[in-house]
C-alpha cells in the first residue's frame, strides 16, 4: 500500500462558513479499463475495446447538461471522469446521478469511469482563487493527458467541452489530445447520427432559454432540504407522493403519505392540494413535502362527474366533507420521465408566446402540466406526437422548461399511439441486438440443436420412465409447463410431476440476454401484439416443451400416498424430458369424459396399440384430476382461496365479450392444470424460503384495507345482500350468496367491486419482510412464488436460479455464482413490480385505444352496434357510472349537462333533455323537471349510445349517452355472437391495414402489420394458468377504466 497524502479541500458548510480540511489520498495505480493498457492495470469488469479510433473524455459541463447525448449507444469509448461524476451528483441530484451510474454499469454501453482524482499524476489540486469550473476543466484535461500517456500514445483522446476558453487554452498544448466543442465533435465524428444532432440543438436551445428568463416570481421558493427534513421529523410537514387527479388535473392533487407515517393515525389520511399555486411546481409522481393549512381553509373533493373540457367549472360543485388540505413547501425528489406531447395548433402558438420559438406543448397525460419547449420545427411537427423531457421549473416560470428528444409520428395513427402508450408507461422494448442473439443456441434445419451428453449425465432422465404431457390452449407454440403422473410401489404411492422449461440453462446470469430480460421483467401483451422478454429462438423453440422432442426441464416431483394423498416425499431438480402428448383443453376434457376422440399423436398406430396408449393416457388424466380435486379441497379447507377461484370462474361464466379467448364453459381440466401449477409454486416457495431465509423471492398478497370495501357493502345492501368482509373465506362465501337469479350481471359487478378493493399481489425478498407478511390472501397460502412461466416472467427465472442453488446446496456443492443479497433482490423485486404494473397499464390503454378506433369507424346515430345495454354500478352527483357488458366498456353517463338541463324519461322510455334539477341519494338518483320525475337506481339496466370523443392531444375517449331507461333488448337478438374483444382488435387492425394500404407512401406498412399479426397471433396465452390470469386482469382493468373519482384507487389492480 503506497500512500501519499495531499490534504486541503476547503469547504463551506451550511449556515456559517466553516473551513473543513479533508484528507485526500492519491495512488499510482488506478485501473484505466482499456484493452490497450501496457501497465497491467487491475481491470475487471467493463473494458474499452482497443480497436476504436479515439476515446472521448467529456468535460464536466458536458456530462451535466448533455448526458442524454452520451447515452447514445453508437458513441463508443467514453471515459467518464470522477470529477464529472461528482459534479453530476452535486448539481443534478440523485436521479440524474443514478442514471449515470446505470449507464456505467450497463455492459451494452461502451463507457467506463476513471477515478482521476485518486491517480497520483492526473490529480491536480485546486489553486488559490481558481473558480470551480476552471479547476474541474483542468482536472478533466489532465485526466485526458494521463490517458494518452498511459496508453503510450496508441490511442487518440478527444476531450469535449462546452467551455470555449478551454478549447483555446488546451487544444494546442499536447499532441494526441484534442480539445473540441460538442458541436464540432458531433459534426466531425458522427455526421450521420442525426438524432444526436437534433438532441444537441434542442438541449442547447433549452439551456439558452433558461438563462434569458425573467425574474418575476410566479411561485414561492422551495425550502432547503435541511429545513424540510427537520420539519418532517418534528411532524410539522408531511412527506408523500403527489398524485394528480386525472379528471381535475388543474386543481386537485392528493398527497399519498408513505407507509412509515401511517402509524400516526391522524396523519394516515391523504392530504389534498388544491390549485396550481399551492402545488408549487410539483409534477405528478414527485416526492413532495406539504404543510397543512389551518382547518378553516380545508376543503373537500369534488364528487360530481366532470367532462374533460369542463375543467373551468368552479364554485358551485358539490363537495364531500372537508379533508386535510395543504400546500407544497418543497420537493424531495423529482420523478420526471419522458413525456409524450403534442404541439398546439398554429393560431394558438402565435398568440401564446412572445417569441415564436417557444411553444407550450400539451402532454398526452392530462396530469402533467404544459411544457415549454424551444424548437424551430413547430410548424413541421403539427399533429405529431413528440417525446420531450423536462429540464427545470424555476420559480419565475409558470410552466416547466423542456426539450424535445424525438418524434414519434402523426397523432391518431395506430403505430404512433402504441408507441405513445409504451413511452408513457416507461416500457422500452428495442429489438434484440445482434450481440444478444449471438449468445443464443442455434436450431436450424442445417444445424439442429441436440441435447448435450454432459447434460444427460447431470440431469435426471425422465424420458423412458415418465409419461409426460402438456395441456394448453389450441395452437399454442410456447409450452412452458408439462405434467406427469404415475403410480409407484404397486399402487401404494402416486407420483405427481410438474416440469417447467429450463430457461436459466440457456440464459446464464449476467449475460446480455439476462440483462435485457431483467430490464424488461415480463413479456408485454398489448391488444394486437406482444413484446417478448426472451428472443424467439428460446421462447418458441428451445425452451418450449414441445411434443416428441428432448427438452431440458426443471421439475418438481411429489410422492403422494395413494389413499390419503399426503405428501411423503418431494424431489426438486433438473431433468431431461420428452413430452409424449401435446394436448389441448377440449381434447383433454373429451378424453376424461370418455368421448370418442382422435389424438393426433396416436393416429399412425395400429388399433390395438392405439387403444392401449389411449387407456394409459386417459388413466393418467383421471389420476391427475383426482389429485387436483383433492388439492383444491385441501386449500379450500385450510384457508379459503375461493375468492380468487370463483372470481375467475364467474368471470368466465358471464364474460361474454372475451369468449373469443376462452370457452364460455370452463372445463374442469383448466382448473386441474391451474391447481398443479399453484401447487408447484407453493412447494418451490417453501423450499427456497427454507434454504435461503433472507434472500428468497416470494410473492405475497396483503389483506385489503377494510375501508375499501365500503362501496361494495353499500351497493350490495341496495339489492338486499349482506357482504361479510372480515376474512377472505367470509368474503368469498358471501359473494357466492349474492346472486340475483334474474340478473347475473349483479353478481359480476359486485365481484368487480370486491376486486377493486383488493390490494396488489407483489414480489418481495424474504429478508425484507417479517414472516407473517408472507401470506397470500387470494390463494390462502402461507408461501407462494412464481415458478411456472420462466419464458415470460423474469421473477420465475430468479426463482429457478434460487431453486438450482438450493438443490446444489443439498448435494453439498456450493453455488457457482453468489446469490443476490437481500438488498439487491429487494431492488430487483421493486423493479419487477413496477414493470408489471406498467405492463398492465399499457395493456389496458391499448385495449381502450382499440375500442376507440373501433367506434371511430361507426356513425353513432345510424350504426346499431353503437347502441348497447348498460348497467348502473355507481351513483355520482350529476350522473351515474355504467358498465356495458357487450363491449366491456365502463364510463360515466351524465344526467345533467353544462346548460343545466337534465335527462327526463318519456312515456316509451325515451330520454330527452329538459331544464330541471338532479338529486342524489345513496342508492338512486332522480331528475326532476316540469314533466315529472324519473329515478335511476343501482343495477338498473339502461340503453346507451356509444360515440368517440376525439381529443387532439390526449387519447380519444368513449362517450356514453343515455337514450332509454329500458334495457336494450335487441342487442342480444341482433348479435347472437356478440363482439368479442379480440374480434374487435382484429377488425381494427384490418381497418388500419386497409387505410395504410390506400396511402401510397406507406405502402410498406400493410404487409408488415399483417406479418406482425401472424407472428403475434400464434398464441397470445401460453397456457391456462396465464390465460386465467389475463382474463382476470382484463376484468380488473375494466374496473380501473371506470371514471374513478378517487385517484388513489384507480391504481389498485389485483394480480395474483
Amino acid at each position: 500500500m503506497i500512500k501519499t497524502e495531499r490534504i486541503l479541500h476547503l469547504k463551506s458548510c451550511r449556515g456559517r462558513k466553516v473551513r473543513v480540511v479533508r484528507e485526500h489520498y492519491v495512488r499510482e495505480r488506478v485501473p484505466c479499463f482499456s484493452a490497450l493498457c501496457q501497465a497491467d492495470c487491475d481491470n475487471d469488469g467493463k473494458v474499452l475495446p482497443g480497436d476504436l479510433t479515439h476515446y472521448v473524455v467529456p468535460d464536466v459541463g458536458v456530462v451535466v447538461d448533455y448526458l442524454e447525448i452520451l447515452e447514445f449507444r453508437e458513441l463508443q469509448g467514453i471515459v467518464f471522469t470522477q470529477t464529472a461524476c461528482q459534479a453530476v451528483q452535486h448539481s443534478k441530484g440523485r436521479r440524474q446521478y443514478n442514471r449515470l451510474r446505470n449507464l456505467l454499469k450497463d455492459p451494452r454501453h461502451d463507457c467506463v469511469l476513471f477515478a482521476n482524482e485518486f491517480q497520483e499524476y492526473s490529480y491536480c489540486p485546486r489553486e488559490k482563487g481558481e473558480s470551480q469550473e476552471k479547476w474541474q476543466t483542468r482536472c478533466v484535461y489532465s485526466a485526458a493527458v494521463w490517458y494518452h500517456n498511459h496508453l503510450a500514445g496508441m490511442m487518440d483522446i478527444v476531450m469535449i467541452t462546452e467551455d470555449q476558453d478551454a478549447v483555446a487554452q488546451f487544444s494546442s498544448l499536447s499532441s494526441g489530445v484534442y480539445v473540441v466543442s460538442v458541436q464540432d465533435y458531433l459534426s466531425n465524428f458522427w455526421m450521420e447520427l442525426h438524432a444526436a444532432h437534433e438532441l444537441y440543438n434542442s438541449i442547447s436551445q433549452a439551456l439558452e432559454e433558461k438563462e434569458s428568463e425573467g425574474t418575476e416570481k410566479e411561485y414561492t421558493e422551495h425550502l432547503p432540504s435541511e429545513i424540510l427534513e427537520a420539519g418532517i421529523k418534528s411532524g410539522r410537514y408531511i412527506q408523500g407522493v403527489l398524485n394528480v387527479n386525472k379528471h381535475r388535473a388543474q386543481q386537485e392533487a392528493l398527497i399519498t403519505t408513505q407507509a412509515s407515517s401511517n402509524k400516526n393515525t391522524d396523519l394516515s389520511r391523504d392530504v389534498l392540494v388544491y390549485g396550481g399555486k399551492n402545488r408549487n411546481r410539483a409534477v405528478h409522481g414527485d416526492v413532495v413535502v406539504v404543510e397543512l393549512l389551518p382547518k378553516s381553509e380545508w376543503r373537500g373533493k369534488v364528487t360530481s362527474l366532470t367532462e374533460r373540457q369542463g375543467d373551468e367549472k368552479t364554485g358551485e360543485d358539490e363537495k364531500s366533507k372537508p379533508m386535510p388540505t395543504g400546500y407544497v413547501v418543497g420537493i424531495l425528489q423529482r420523478n420526471w420521465r419522458d413525456y409524450v406531447v403534442t404541439f398546439p395548433p398554429r393560431e394558438a402558438t402565435q398568440s401564446q408566446s412572445r417569441n415564436s420559438q417557444r411553444i407550450l406543448a400539451i402532454p398526452w397525460d392530462p396530469r402533467i402540466p404544459k411544457i415549454r419547449i424551444s424548437t424551430q420545427q413547430a410548424d413541421a411537427l403539427q399533429d405529431h406526437r413528440v417525446v420531450v423531457r423536462i429540464d427545470s421549473w424555476e420559480s419565475t416560470s409558470l410552466y416547466p422548461n423542456g426539450h424535445s428528444v424525438r418524434v414519434l409520428g402523426r397523432a391518431g395513427e395506430l403505430e404512433t399511439e402504441i408507441q405513445t402508450i409504451l413511452i408513457e408507461n416507461f416500457i422500452h422494448v428495442p429489438p434484440f441486438s445482434e450481440a444478444q442473439l449471438k449468445e443464443m443456441p442455434v436450431n436450424s434445419p442445417e444445424k439442429p440443436w441436440k441435447v448435450h451428453p454432459s447434460q444427460v449425465a447431470s440431469r435426471r432422465d425422465l424420458r423412458g420412465t415418465h409419461l409426460v404431457f402438456s395441456i394448453d390452449p389450441r395452437g399454442c407454440e410456447d409450452v412452458d409447463d408439462t405434467l406427469s403422473v404415475r403410480t409407484l410401489d404397486g399402487g401404494k404411492l402416486l407420483e405427481l410431476g410438474v416440469h417447467i422449461a429450463d430457461v436459466t440453462h440457456f440464459v446464464p446470469e449476467g449475460s446480455l440476454t439476462d440483462l435485457e430480460a431483467r430490464s424488461r421483467a415480463t413479456t408485454y401483451y398489448l391488444a394486437d401484439r406482444r413484446y417478448d422478454m426472451l428472443p424467439a429462438v428460446l421462447s418458441a423453440d428451445l425452451c418450449s416443451l414441445l411434443g416428441g422432442v428432448d427438452r431440458y426441464a426443471m421439475s418438481v416431483l411429489w410422492e403422494l400416498d395413494a389413499h390419503t394423498l399426503e405428501v411423503t416425499k418431494v424431489w426438486y431438480g433438473r431433468t431431461l424430458i420428452r413430452s409424449s402428448y401435446q394436448l389441448h383443453y377440449e381434447l383433454a376434457q373429451a378424453l376424461l369424459n370418455r368421448e370418442d376422440t382422435e389424438v393426433p399423436e396416436l393416429a399412425p398406430l395400429s388399433p390395438e396399440e392405439k387403444d392401449a396408449k389411449l387407456a394409459e393416457l386417459t388413466q393418467a388424466l383421471e389420476m391427475l384430476t383426482h389429485v387436483a380435486r383433492h388439492l383444491r379441497a385441501q386449500r379450500d379447507r385450510g384457508g379459503a382461496l375461493e375468492l380468487e377461484g370463483v372470481e375467475v370462474r364467474a368471470q368466465l361464466d358471464a364474460e361474454k365479450n372475451i369468449t373469443a379467448l376462452v370457452p364460455r364453459q370452463p372445463l374442469e381440466v383448466h382448473e386441474t392444470v391451474a391447481e398443479c401449477m399453484i401447487y408447484a409454486n407453493h412447494w418451490v416457495a417453501r423450499k427456497i424460503q427454507k434454504t435461503f431465509p433472507h434472500q428468497a423471492l416470494l410473492r405475497h398478497h396483503p389483506p385489503p384495507r377494510q375501508e375499501f370495501f365500503s362501496q361494495l357493502v353499500d351497493s350490495a345492501k341496495a339489492r338486499g345482500f349482506t357482504i361479510n368482509t372480515s376474512s377472505n373465506k367470509a368474503l368469498a362465501d358471501s359473494l357466492d350468496r349474492a346472486v340475483d337469479p334474474e340478473d347475473p350481471l349483479v353478481n359480476r359487478m359486485l365481484r368487480m367491486m370486491a376486486t377493486q378493493a383488493m390490494s396488489q399481489a407483489l414480489y418481495f425478498s424474504t429478508g425484507a419482510q417479517s414472516q407473517e407478511q408472507y401470506y397470500h390472501y387470494g390463494l390462502a397460502l402461507d408461501h407462494y412464488t412464481h415458478f411456472t412461466s420462466p419464458i415470460r416472467r423474469y421473477a420465475d427465472m430468479i426463482v429457478h436460479r434460487l431453486l438450482t442453488a438450493a438443490v446444489d446446496l443439498d448435494k453439498g456443492l456450493s453455488p457457482a455464482v453468489a446469490l443476490a443479497t437481500n438488498k439487491e433482490l429487494e431492488e430487483t423485486t421493486q423493479h419487477i413490480n413496477n414493470k408489471n404494473r406498467a405492463a398492465q397499464r399499457a395493456q389496458k390503454l391499448s385495449i381502450e385505444l382499440f375500442q376507440c378506433l373501433y367506434f371511430k369507424e361507426r356513425d353513432p346515430q345510424t350504426d346499431p352496434s353503437c347502441v348497447a345495454d348498460a348497467a348502473i354500478y355507481a351513483i355520482r352527483d350529476n350522473g351515474v357510472l355504467v358498465f356495458v357488458p357487450q363491449y366491456g366498456v365502463k364510463g360515466p353517463v351524465y344526467l345533467k349537462n353544462r346548460d343545466g338541463e337534465v335527462v327526463t324519461v318519456g312515456q316509451d322510455g325515451r330520454c330527452e333533455w329538459k331544464t330541471g334539477s338532479v338529486k342524489r341519494y345513496s342508492e338512486h338518483i332522480s331528475t326532476t323537471c316540469s314533466s315529472g320525475t324519473s329515478t335511476f337506481t343501482l343495477f338498473d339496466h339502461i340503453t346507451v349510445r356509444i360515440s368517440v370523443q376525439p381529443s387532439r392531444c390526449h387519447a380519444d375517449s368513449l362517450n356514453l349517452e343515455i337514450i332509454s331507461n329500458k334495457p336494450h333488448k335487441s342487442a342480444e337478438s341482433q348479435q347472437p355472437h356478440s363482439q368479442g374483444r379480440s374480434q374487435l382488435v382484429q377488425e381494427v387492425v384490418r381497418q388500419a391495414e386497409e387505410a395504410s394500404q390506400q396511402a401510397q407512401e406507406r405502402a410498406s406498412r400493410g404487409p408488415r402489420l399483417s406479418k406482425e399479426e401472424r407472428e403475434f397471433c400464434q398464441s397470445k396465452t401460453p397456457n391456462l394458468y396465464s390465460l386465467l390470469e389475463e382474463i382476470r386482469e382484463l376484468a380488473l382493468m375494466d374496473v380501473g377504466a371506470a371514471a374513478n373519482v378517487c385517484a388513489s384507487k384507480t391504481e389498485i389492480i389485483v394480480r395474483f
Partner: protein, 245 residues
C-alpha cells in the same frame, strides 16, 4: 438527504482509500521532557498528544488506593481548536467523561498494574485536531506514551474504528464517514494474543454482520500495531545512539 456516497462502485472511499486501507499514521515518542512519558500521534488528520505520569504514590483521596495493584487514572480532553467550530468546553462534558472511562478500562486490561501496588498511573490525552476515530487515536497515542514511560504492558494496545457500508467493512473511519450515518464499531486489541481490551458499538447492526466487522477491525488493529512497533524501535534506536555518545 443527498447522502454522500461513502463507497463508490469502484471501491473508493471519499478520500481515495480502499475499504481496508488505514489512514497515514505518524508518531513521535518522548515529546515532553517533564513528564515520565509522552507521545504525539497523527492518524490522518486526527492528532493527539498523550502524557503519562507515574507510577507514583497516590495523590488526592487515599481511600482509592488498591493494595494489590496500581490505580490508573485517565483524562481525555479536546482542544478548543480541535474541531471546525470552536469548542466551548475542552473537558468534563459527558462525552469526555465517557471517553476517559473507556480509556481507563482499556489500559487496566493492558498495563501490568500488579507490579505497582498502592500507586497511581496518570494518563492524560488531548485531541489537538479531530477528524474521526478519536478514541482509537487516543489509545494508540497513550500506548506509545506508556511505553515511553517505561511501564510494563502485556502488549501494545492498538485500537481502530470500522464502519459498515454496503455490506462492506470500512477500516479507520474519517469524520465525514463517521457522521455520514455509518454504524461504526471501535475495537482495542492486544494484537499478539488477539485479546480484545475493549469493544464498543452504539449503532444498530445485524447480528450476521458482526463477525465480519470484528474480523476487519482486528486486521486493522494489527496494521496499526505494526506501525507502532516501528515507531518504538525507531525511537529506541535514536535514544540509544544519543546515550552512546
Amino acid at each position: 438527504m443527498a447522502g454522500l456516497e461513502l463507497l463508490s462502485d469502484q471501491g473508493y472511499r471519499l478520500d481515495g482509500r480502499k475499504a481496508t486501507e488505514l489512514r497515514k499514521v505518524q508518531a513521535r515518542m518522548g515529546v515532553f521532557a517533564q513528564a515520565d512519558g509522552s507521545a504525539y500521534l497523527e492518524q490522518g488528520n486526527t492528532k493527539a498528544l498523550a502524557v503519562v505520569y507515574g507510577p507514583h504514590e497516590m495523590r488526592g483521596s487515599r481511600s482509592r488506593t488498591l493494595h494489590d495493584r496500581a490505580v490508573i487514572n485517565c483524562q481525555y480532553s479536546m482542544a478548543t481548536f480541535s474541531t471546525a467550530e470552536r469548542k466551548r468546553r475542552p473537558h468534563g462534558d459527558r462525552k469526555s467523561t465517557e471517553m476517559s472511562l473507556h480509556l481507563k478500562q482499556t489500559f487496566e486490561a493492558a498495563v501490568m498494574t500488579q507490579l505497582y501496588p498502592r500507586s497511581q498511573i496518570d494518563i492524560y490525552v488531548k485531541i489537538l485536531q479531530s477528524d474521526g476515530g478519536n478514541y482509537s487515536v487516543c489509545v494508540n497515542a497513550a500506548t506509545l506514551a506508556v511505553i515511553d514511560a517505561g511501564i510494563p504492558m502485556r502488549d501494545y494496545v492498538c485500537a481502530c474504528t470500522v464502519g459498515f457500508v454496503d455490506e462492506t467493512p470500512l477500516a479507520d473511519l474519517c469524520y465525514a464517514e463517521e457522521s455520514g450515518g455509518v454504524s461504526s464499531l471501535a475495537l482495542a486489541l492486544l494484537p499478539r494474543g488477539g485479546q480484545i481490551a475493549l469493544l464498543q458499538m452504539d449503532a444498530r447492526l445485524h447480528q450476521d454482520h458482526l463477525e465480519t466487522l470484528i474480523d476487519a477491525a482486528m486486521t486493522a488493529c494489527k496494521g496499526v500495531s505494526k506501525v507502532l512497533d516501528e515507531v518504538v524501535r525507531q525511537h529506541l534506536q535514536e535514544v540509544s545512539v544519543l546515550t552512546r555518545e
